[in-house]
Amino acid sequence: MSATAAAPVKTLPEHHYLNATYGIRSWLLTVDHKRIALLYLVSVTFFFFIGGFFAMLIRLHLLTPSGYLLSADTYNRMFTMHGVAMIFFFLIPSIPAVLGNFFIPLMIGAKDLAFPKINLLSWYVYVVGAAFTLYSMVSGGLDTGWTFYTPLSTIYSNSAVAPAVVGVFITGFSSILTGLNFLVTIHTMRAPGMTWFRLPMFVWAHYATSIVMILGTPVIAITLALAGMERLFGLGFFNPAMGGDPILFQHLFWFYSHPAVYIMILPAMGVISELIPTFARKQLFGYHFVAAASLAIAVIGFLVWTHHMFLTGQSTYAALAFSFLTFLVAIPSAVKTFNWVATLYGGSISFDTPMLYAFGFLGLFLIGGLTGLFLGCLGTDIHIHDTYFVVAHFHYIMVGGAIMGYLGGLHFWWPKMTGRMYPEWLARIAALILFVGFNLTFFPQFLLGYLGMPRRYHVYPPEFQVYNVMSTAGASILAIGYLLPMIYLTWAAFFGKVAGDNPWPATGLEWKTQSPPLTENFEVTPIVTWEPYDFHNRPDLGLDAVASNGVAPAHGDD
């Protein structure tokens, strides 16, 4: 344990996972979870910029009511491929497969995940799925919407549906394998003393996420398999011409795809639950409640899926039940938010870039979550279902929530992953640009939605133009906000200042090893004797032992 390195000029450790072996083979055949995480980092970033490129075209096109630069068919392909790339190939793997893969073993004091080879396999599965999807994008594109609704996708679309469906189907197994690996690892690989209630909240969040991956993803797999076979071989479950029911597809699709939203947001919540205590230097308020809220979201999240289908003609009774459950799933999210804010109280708050992302997340997730109430509510959903209101809502959750969490986590752990610091002031400016650009892009879409502009329109009546122009302007700012971190983080990985083992300092086990870590993570298996986020009994962090901000200590009964 070399946490007390306080040398005046910091240097990178002599041996670490990055220089353990060299050559392309040592990366492509690695079973080291940290290297696999970096493989994922490269792949999901690639898809993020593909998706972002499509998004930029969409926003440019919508500058004028009659459409600016794309034909109807091209526009439809753009938004479909934007959705597919972003959801299946960026958002779902982003935090779990990059940050989760890298840090879960480190955080629980394990040498690796339980199944390192399966971990590598999951990346290859992802790559194969991605290859099919890219093939579909270049061979005619895909124009069904990322939701693949039947019978449009199975019978009527003349775009490259089959390879895309196969691609998403295959990628699903990557997600299943990752979730399986995490669940087993968290159960059996914890270091001595790392009890369930000493786990960092990031690990809890991934535990909950993995449950969703395990139980939901197989259902989307079979659904897409059936839809694919329907298109290729004429199976008929979703084909009204044979008496099949297209609504059944939606049931099966949303059984996964609603919980999939929690695959995206739960890990981000986990990141935020790390960032806030670290940068407020304070115990996470209500640890047990935040952990329980993660599990509650994962479980109740499975019971709300038909709120995407209130207007398909589904049973009124079912609609009532599912709307009720939808309101229930809002509660644990609210509990988490309140606990984060309460954690700030009496803290010693710094404004390093990761913390700025945490504040950004709080604001955007709050708006995203609260606007979900309008959609879960039966009365208002009649009006705003399938309008830009929905588009704005889920972008606040997925972009404002999940990506803010992802970027916050990347900045927070970048020194651990690469051993080097990113440029602090540039990063703060980028975070600010992102926040402003994001709000300018997506807030006007709430207004558009309530005014009645349906989603997925390549042309629109002129009365909607003002907000569309605002949105496009915001998107340009947002694009800069995303390019900046990509550039300076890459630069920092090679040329940044050497960070040291624990630059923040933070309490987690991952900070007790060197940066970048050894291939085996720890020289000696650590023994955990402290509570999570406890700054008071950790002399090894080199901080003052008592709080100096005038708030009396209070031992709650959490």
């Binding site: 439809n76 398909t312 509660i331 309530y450 009365e463």
Partner: protein
Amino acid sequence: MQSPLPFFPEQASNFAGNVDALFSYILVTAIFFTVLVTLLAVFAAFRYRRKNASDIGAEIHGNTALEIGWTLIPLILALGMFAWGAVIYVNYRTAPKDTLDIYVIGKQWMWKLQQPNGRKEINELHIPVNRNIKLILGSEDVIHDFYVPAFRVKMDVVPGRYNTMWFRPTKVGKYHFFCSQYCGTNHALMGGWVTVMDPAEYAAWLSGESGDVSPVSAGEKLFTQLACTTCHVPNGTGRGPSLNGVYGAKVLLADGSTVTADEGYIRESILQPKAKIVAGYQPVMPTFQGLVTEEQILNLTAYIKSLQTQPVPAKGAGVAPATSGKK
């Protein structure tokens, strides 16, 4: 839409005011929590900002009373939203009886609409103000969705089944309607205008220039052509039940259950006569599957609906005895 930055669209139906009110209620709640959380966070960020590099925060682990509080209060507020929303939704999904029924067929990428008297329109809908309007929605290909923002109503149009939606326009004027479920290339072009008119103007519009036969009379003709009259004798003496007054009433079935005779039931009885047998009758009716077109079924249904006002025979009607007095 006059304001350069509009917020609420025009309110032009019975649902609009209520949906906007509910929206405002949720909006106020949402703003309250957004402001509360933001203020608390900003306050904490300033009050507890780090003064010395090695400062740490106070030792606070949590507070169960607070946790329970901020679980229960949002729960209660949320249940209020749920209940209000549920009332509007149930009202929306349950059409009143005295509706003006308009058939709407969606296909890639146009809407075909038909008035009760048979007058057809493409991407245009004329309706009288202050009448309850019911749209019966069918699709010829993929899933569409009929959406009128000014009325705050929409409903998916699903191939293979019928959905219905209803509303009562409250303001004369012209309003956009859209297709709101992505349906392929020209999804965005699949819209048009709803024109809400004074009843007198509507009547004039309806009678003018329409060369189409009303569905009721077309249905009556078909009813004879297809020899339905040989069994479904109005006075109830035929091999099939009399259809007088049957629409909208409860029908007693051979297995003892009852079913409300709505469009769906009538459609099923024509296409799959053996699915539901009226009590006291033999399953002798042949299926008309493939023999009648979609439009002809609509006409037959319209005709059977017109028999609603005919006297119900004491014996031989399909109407269940207990509830034979309709609504």
